[in-house]
Symmetry: C2
Subunit: 413 residues, 2 copies
């Protein structure tokens, strides 16, 4: 759609009346430049956490269908408040929830995926000259029940709307002013990138750089949505995420840290076909996401598997394995929670054999032992002792700083 721009504002950006008015004025400015605007909002501030607390006040383990009914109200509230704010400064606006838009999603409560988005109501309201404010994070399943798309999934709502409406641009407004080469709280001389490719962003997001929801980046890549991450607090242009960033691809575009890593080791497994299936199928059935998988080199007729999960899934994963001990046929399970993952990402890495070696060298120089290594075409991840993560991040970042220098903007204070 010509001149259509999708904006997304996170919870901090709409936390109170003042911030909502600031957002409304930002949208009005974009409208006054001749654009049509669809806005996706998250719930205000800590609303979602407060609603989760209410639910846990009722029962320890609540039905996810009902939890979704409860949680979706947060986004509906902020959508209505932003529509009021836009109207109060003379911009016609209307808020719509997922049922009213027709954001059709799968039935998996709490972690649903968007299947289809109806555009009839959206385009009708846009054609009336209105700013359409859509409640993020939510969908409806085929029974008409509300589902939620996972924490942080309002980004995904925004990109999906930009895709179906063929928007010119999808701007994700947040409390940071772009994608950095590393988390500036940990690596103070991290640089803001002016642009990054979908693939690099995807690896960064998947590796724990919490700025953008990785499903949103995936979808942006698939539908070629021009994505911009920028601050709702100032006018910094932010970081453009797109297919081709127009310059020579950087060898390394960024570094990510993930402290939410636990390792499970399953030892004494028989060395026969079907063992991996017997371990990972029951985990997948319970929606436990497994990250790095390592298979030991065989010794005798026994082999060991180890894999990483999110810390909060560790207990559940162990229980599932114990429940299936007979079928899997292992000796014992050991776990390690004191790990963190350090990842470097870069599309140019595949053609540059020295990158892995340089990363290992810098870790060696600062005396950090590597527990596990995992590589893909465009990233290298290592698991290390969690206590060493800051030291390691700084060391690796300074090693690659010359390579990061082609496309950055100085960090502002």
């Amino acid at each position: 759609m010509d001149n259509l721009i999708v904006h997304k504002y996170g919870g901090t950006s709409v936390a109170n009346a003042d911030r909502i008015m600031y957002v409304a004025k930002n949208i009005a400015k974009v409208c006054d430049q001749g654009n049509r605007v669809v806005v996706v909002v998250s719930a205000q501030g800590h609303t979602t956490d407060r609603l989760l607390e209410k639910a846990s006040g009722i029962a320890f383990d609540v039905d996810r269908r009902e939890l979704d009914m409860l949680l979706v109200t947060g986004e509906q509230q902020s959508a209505a408040l932003l529509a009021m704010a836009l109207q109060s400064i003379g911009k016609p606006a209307i808020s719509l929830n997922a049922a009213q838009v027709g954001i059709e999603a799968t039935s998996v409560h709490f972690n649903a995926q968007i299947k289809r988005i109806q555009t009839k109501r959206l385009t009708a309201e846009l054609d009336k000259g209105k700013v359409v404010v859509v409640a993020g994070f939510q969908g409806i399943n085929r029974h008409g029940d509300m589902t939620t798309l996972g924490r942080g999934a309002s980004d995904t709502t925004a990109v999906a709307l930009a895709a179906v409406l063929e928007a010119q641009l999808c701007e994700i407004y947040t409390d940071v002013d772009g994608i950095y080469t590393a988390d500036p709280r940990i690596v103070p001389n991290a640089k803001r990138l002016n642009s990054i490719t979908y693939d690099d962003m995807l690896e960064l997001a998947a590796s724990g750089a919490g700025v953008l929801h990785s499903r949103a980046v995936e979808m942006a890549k698939r539908y070629n949505v021009n994505l911009v991450l920028r601050s709702s607090m100032n006018d910094t242009p932010g970081t453009i995420i797109k297919e081709d960033i127009g310059v020579e691809r950087l060898t390394v575009s960024g570094l990510a840290i993930d402290r939410n890593v636990a390792r499970v080791s399953v030892t004494g497994l028989p060395d026969i076909p079907g063992v991996a299936y017997s371990i990972f199928n029951p985990l997948a059935k319970e929606k436990i996401i497994v990250d790095i998988i390592l298979l030991s080199v065989g010794k005798g007729d026994k082999r060991d598997y180890s894999f990483t999960v999110n810390k909060q899934d560790l207990c559940a994963a162990c229980k599932i394995l114990e429940d299936n001990k007979e079928q899997i046929g292992f000796d014992c399970i050991t776990t390690d929670e004191n790990l963190a993952k350090l990842t470097i990402v870069g599309a140019g890495m595949a053609n540059n054999s020295g990158v892995a070696a340089a990363m290992f060298e810098s870790l060696f120089e600062c005396g950090v032992n590597i527990e596990t290594i995992s590589t893909s075409e465009i990233k290298i991840s290592v698991l290390i002792d969690e206590r060493n993560i800051t030291k390691a991040a700084k060391a690796v970042h300074s090693k690659f700083e010359p390579m990061l220098s082609e496309d950055y903007t100085e960090t502002e204070d």
Copy 2:
């Protein structure tokens, strides 16, 4: 539907996790007696007021369509929480909002009326053995937009559901334990009624006895729904509201006080046909509810009208009249905000000419001047100085106490 009971719980009854669990256990008890239960809930505690504050933090006068989008979230939250509570004690339950049930309403935001209720989803969930928890106070209009049914209208939702599902009984659980012959906070020796007719309850509700929403009573009468008002805090049986209360109708069944009364006087009107229309049609168009209308006896070719409205509508009413001054052709408008309305209600009144006289006598005895009198077949209302309302209520109540004695239960402490 056989063995179907509709419950309604107000905001105080679901104000926190403890109260919600108490309500869940009450419902479970009713289920265990072999009943199917549909529950209607209001928003928790002061949620609606807090949401209204949020809206007024954005703008002074907000769009009612957006206000409704904001407000309906309160009831959806308490419905989800109650469904979780029921599940936690082993009772299958599901929460549904107005869109999911299909509660079709008019498009008048903030004061919509229910037009039709779909029963397909409701009966499907009941047939699965579930308690269905419905978000009260809300409907959807023909565009699929959320509308609200007016403050206190969750009662109406409950009665409407009882009507379409042909429930055996509709129990309204609240923070008082029944209908009293007068407000016990003002008249300490007021008595709780075991039963009252629809008509008497209607007049009491319409006259300011805030216990039951008058639209709910109207609907109960029209569809002959057995209505019970009782406490969610204790086991007092409450007051039954039905067509025929089975005993000789009381001459006077209760007394109501309404402090939310303002009077508008329009003077110097021409004594020609069409004047009343020219005054009240513009008011009706703006949904201003006019209560007592008084037309002065003619003097010369000029006449005066006076009428009462809710205090919050006073400014709007005056503005509308001023805007139409030319067409109406009046001299001036005067207003009085320091009034209150005292009403006695009783189906037996029509056959007992002494009731009005006895009321006026008791007001005379306590030295209260009457500003306006309005009567119907089953009620008598007087407007008096607001400062005298407690004195007047006590005097009138003690005058009629012998008549009230046939069907009451002692007030509990």
